[in-house]
């Protein structure tokens, strides 16, 4: 079998192998983690980037814009 092909087959073996081993392990540790630290959502959890101040900002903007429109009517 030409070297290129054997290299390729090795790569597929290593690659898919690693991907599956890795993600299987990840499923395990993730479930373990959730089990250990508890899964009760805290209030500040909401899928919103806890980072960005956008939510409040947008709330403000939209409210203001709404009002603004009403003015114009």
């Amino acid at each position: 079998m030409p070297e290129l092909v054997s290299q390729a087959l090795d790569l597929v073996l290593y690659g898919m192998g690693s991907v599956f081993i890795f993600l299987t392990a990840l499923v395990g540790v993730t479930m373990l983690m959730s089990y250990l630290i508890g899964t009760d959502p805290t209030t500040n959890e909401s899928g919103i980037p806890s980072g960005s101040m956008d939510p409040k900002l947008l709330a403000a903007i939209s409210a203001a814009v709404k009002r603004h429109r009403e003015d114009r009517q």
Binding site: L11, G15, V19, F22, L23, V27, T30, M33, T39, P49
Partner: protein, 376 residues
């Protein structure tokens, strides 16, 4: 020499080659698709425009001290741009849906088969003498199947810089074409009944889980596939900034100014690889074909994995979300949702599809690490 002759010889009309003209047309086509058809405009506008600039004759733009080549040298040769983008993607990613249903990680794993099948395909083309790819080139082409822009650019920059232009164009174009590429395959491989499967509402995820996840993900990378650490490390760092809640100003800037600035320069730098002499080669055609194959196989593998999981697991999952395992975030997840709604108007799969979707990003980053280590 006659002044006017000098002037005439300095014009583009006099100097432009047919290839350059063709590439300018291709650049215009990319701009058209990006602006009119909304094909991944954030990347294809800079790439398309950069491609046009790179094919203007008689001036150094994409070579030597040219500005685009400088962007390429400082940002892509070094790997800085794709890694910074990846950090930004991490800061924009919500792992909530994945954490609510970790099993969907398997779908993200399966979909990576597209990468390796394509690698085999590239080798086959070489064996049959149709084209001639080295193992490194084959690996760089395969990564198109990862359906993740920065990962593809990072790998191509390491393994096959001369093919980077074609690989990046293929990756982003097919990511934009996901709504056309995936549905037929998804319908072909699933029964009406399967597409109707409704999935149980995802549980809420606690902030603590979200904070711990990027850390354990990095830990697992460190222990098992260190070669994936640059990509996934930056990704996890971005996500930790986002979820930790103590560095909001850094997270905001990462999600906005920093990722935007980097995207502009990354796109222009990629465009510098669209020079006619480098792009208008038979390999490019092969890359475009193989890239399409990669997306198709990845999609199929994701769907089939979902069906396999339904055989062994009691809690059924809708196989359509398997297709989202290729990544192409968030397009692929939207496609799964759309096809699901066709089968069952009350079936909203979007959040369920986000799990495999981000899992696909992790999966292809792991694959990228392996490819760089063993094919580099």
């Amino acid at each position: 020499m006659e002044p006017l002759t000098t002037l005439w010889h300095s014009t583009g009309v006099y100097q432009m080659s047919l290839g350059q003209l063709a590439m300018i047309v291709i650049g215009l086509l990319l701009l058209y698709l990006a602006i009119t058809k909304k094909f991944e405009p954030l990347l294809l506008v800079p790439i398309g425009f950069g491609g046009i600039l790179s094919n203007i004759p008689g001036v150094d733009i994409a070579v030597g001290q040219g500005i685009l080549h400088q962007f390429y040298a400082m940002g892509i040769e070094t790997g800085v741009f794709p890694l910074v983008i990846f950090m930004g993607v991490g800061a924009l990613t919500d792992f909530g849906p994945l954490l609510a249903n970790p099993k969907t990680l398997f779908l993200g794993a399966a979909a990576q088969f597209g990468i390796f099948a394509t690698l085999i395909g590239a080798v086959a083309l070489t064996q049959t003498g149709i084209l001639d790819f080295t193992i490194a080139e084959a690996a760089a082409i395969g990564i198109i199947g990862g359906a993740d822009g920065p990962t593809a650019i990072y790998v191509a920059g390491k393994l096959a810089p001369h093919l980077l232009g074609a690989i990046a164009v293929a990756a982003y174009s097919y990511m934009a074409l996901v709504p056309l590429i995936q549905p037929p395959i998804m319908r072909l491989l699933t029964t009406e009944a399967e597409r109707k499967i409704e999935m149980t509402q995802l549980r809420e995820v606690s902030q603590r889980e979200k904070i711990f996840f990027p850390i354990i993900l990095l830990g697992l990378v460190a222990l098992t596939v260190p070669s994936a650490a640059p990509l996934l490390g930056m990704f996890c760092f971005g996500n930790l900034m986002r979820e930790s809640g103590v560095v909001d100003r850094l997270s905001d800037t990462t999600q906005n100014a920093l990722i935007n600035i980097t995207t502009i320069f990354l796109g222009l730098a990629v465009g510098s690889k669209l020079r006619a002499e480098q792009f208008l080669v038979p390999e490019t055609l092969g890359i475009l074909v193989l890239g399409m194959v990669a997306f198709c196989i990845g999609t199929a593998a994701g769907v089939l994995m979902a069906k396999l999981m339904n055989l062994v697991s009691s809690q059924k999952i809708n196989p359509l979300i398997g297709a989202a395992g290729v990544s192409a975030v968030p397009m692929a997840a939207r496609v799964a949702n759309k096809v699901g709604l066709e089968a069952n108007p009350h079936n909203f799969l979007l959040m369920h599809a986000m799990g495999p979707n981000v899992a696909g990003v992790i999966g292809s980053a792991v694959a990228a690490g392996i490819l760089i280590m063993f094919a580099g």
